[in-house]
Amino acid sequence: MGSRYLVRKTLGAIFTIFLIVILNFVLFRMMPGSPDRILLRNPNLSAEAMAAVRARWGLDKPLLPDQLVDYLEATAAGDLGFSFKFHGESVTDVLADRIWPTLILFGLGEILAVIFGLALGAYSGWKRGGAVDYIGNGLSLILYSMPYFVIGILLLGIFAVGLHWFPTSGMLTIGGNNDTFASQLLDFASHLFLPLMTVAIGLIGQYSILMRSSVIETLGEDYVTTARGKGLSSGKILRSHALPNALLPAVTLIAINLGYVIGGAITVEVVFNWPGLGTLTVQALEARDYPVLQGIFLLLSVSVVLANFAADLIYGRLDPRVRA
């Protein structure tokens, strides 16, 4: 891959992350009403704790450059402050506790959705007008209009509450007598299934619609006519010519989509009481636990930037035209 492209994208990512950190600072320290009203508004803090926080965060020092520099140093060192709600635990610890459930749920969901969504979309685009196409397209359109948590509530209602096939909340059965690893895994899997399906179903709709129109557009390109003129079989044309080109906008949009999907993922966790970053966000919101919220914002934003960066790299591998 051309080094200019690589360097350009890397610098871009770093710059964006820097801007995000600054934005974080602006939001929580520079808003009118002084940081006191926002950061220290928690009744659970005793007077000494408040004084300690003021000192540590340097809230008595001038905003710029002192507070900013302190903040940047602290963030770079991994110190994101201390949570109000969780009784003084460091924000980093609070986040670390809850990141794995979200990664598993969301990561697996994306993988499933990418594989099945793209495959379904490619098939619909290829066999345009077939029964699969109409049904698939219609279904995708409806799913696209459903907020993730509505899909979640639907699945929860039917399969967990109604049919009792799956547990209704949490990640593991509390107080369950699961000693072997296998039974623990099974327990985990049964709790994971419905929220995972929710995330996957919500995403599959979007990816299949996108891939379908991408394939349709690609099939109208001149080089596909050339391929037909060469007497290649339909399968070969699809695999060698149409798909590699149709995938390009798909990769881009999957990356852009990640930012939007986060919102949905948060609500899914709420519906299923999945102990990840999503439920943490809602809890922190309720308690106005700003250090935690700040940490979540930072974490999620940086993740999206990194994911976009990874997508740029993948795109660079796939499309020779952008490698300067």
Binding site: T16, L19, I20, L27, F28, M31, P32, G33, R37, I38, R41, L141, I142, Y144, S145, M146, P147, Y148, F149, V150, I153, L154, L156, G157, V161, T168, L219, G220, T225, I256, L258, G259, Y260, I262, G263, G264, I266, T267, V270, V271, T281, V282, L285, E286, R288, L293, Q294, I296, F297, L300, S301, V304, V305, N308
Partner: protein, 316 residues
């Protein structure tokens, strides 16, 4: 003099005639798309409900004016059952229509105005202004705007204080409107900028500049009417997206329990443990409404896009 006045009137009449004719052509072409027509019908239905909810179901029920027993399943007296406070769900849902639609509308207005402003400015002026504006736009595009909205809303609420009203709308809802507007304008800006760039190249813009028209005048009289088609199609889709975003924000607790939108009703249902208790009637009506409305917007939006911005289809 009269000899100069008549051509003026003639030009005006001609313009009016052409405009009416293009509206009629548009109407015919749009009517040929069944998905668009269905969408419009659905939207009209919900708009009627939104305009005068009290006319259909009476005033919004509150804790004190709750008309039934808590969590009662659907019956003749309460067609959609009741919530945990005994309020009629049909009543809540119909009133929720107005709140959801109004929030969506206002947020859309902000999004489109901001997006169009930035897009046209960046596209027309070009140069460093363009680069700067696009950097900002790209930043907002990369940022997970939902998370940003999530953070901004409580901060603004805490600063401004909830519970008061502005122009008859509760502050909590205003905050949601503003937050959605601030975080959604970026993709509209990008789309409109592209269109502005291509309109800018057209001959009549060059001519306008030659005769000395100022930038602002050109942008208002020449560029804007020609990107209007795109703006209209985009507005419809943005509206649907705004309702989805508002629903999600309300669901996680940023809504107003005193002016419940559909998302807020679902939030209340979740808090009351409706699903666990099997109270499906609490959850289904607002969900169905959300899906129908967003679906309608999507269908209308894509039909509009096809009719207003026809793309040359070379093959097939």
């Amino acid at each position: 003099m009269t000899s100069e006045a008549r051509p003026e009137a003639a030009v005006r009449n001609e313009r009016l005639r052409l405009r009416l004719r293009s509206i009629r052509t548009f109407g015919q072409r749009f009517a040929a798309r069944p998905d668009g027509v269905i969408g419009v019908v659905v939207l009209i239905f919900f708009s009627i409900l939104a305009i005068a909810p009290s006319f259909f179901v009476g005033d919004l029920q509150t804790v004190t004016s709750a008309s039934g027993l808590p969590l009662d399943p659907p019956s003749l007296g309460h067609l959609l059952g009741t919530d945990e406070l005994g309020r009629d769900i049909l009543n809540l849902t119909v009133h929720g229509t107005r709140i959801s639609m109004v929030i969506g509308l206002l947020a859309t207005v902000i999004t489109i105005v901001l997006g169009a402003l930035v897009g046209i400015l960046a596209g027309y002026v070009g140069g460093r202004t363009d680069t700067l504006l696009m950097r900002v736009t790209d930043f907002f595009l990369v940022l997970p705007t939902f998370v940003l909205a999530l953070i901004l809303a409580p901060i603004i609420l805490d600063l401004v204080g909830s519970g008061s009203e502005v122009f008859g709308i509760r502050v909590t809802l205003i905050v949601i409107v503003v937050v959605i507007g601030i975080t959604s304008w970026a993709s509209t800006a990008r789309i409109i900028r592209s269109q502005t760039l291509s309109v800018k190249e057209r001959a009549f813009v060059g001519r306008a500049r030659v005769i000395g028209s100022g930038g602002g005048h050109i942008m208002w009289r020449h560029i804007l009417p020609n990107v209007m088609n795109l703006i209209v199609a985009n507005t419809v889709l943005v509206f649907g997206g705004a309702i989805l975003t508002e629903t999600t924000l309300s669901f996680i607790g940023l809504g107003d329990p005193f002016a419940p939108s559909w998302g807020e009703i679902l939030n209340a249902a979740e808090s009351a443990g409706a699903m666990g208790l099997g109270a499906w009637w609490y959850v289904v009506p607002p969900s169905v409404c959300i899906v129908l409305v967003v679906l309608a917007f999507t269908l209308v939006g894509s039909a509009l896009d096809d009719v207003l911005n026809p793309r040359l289809r070379v093959r097939r």
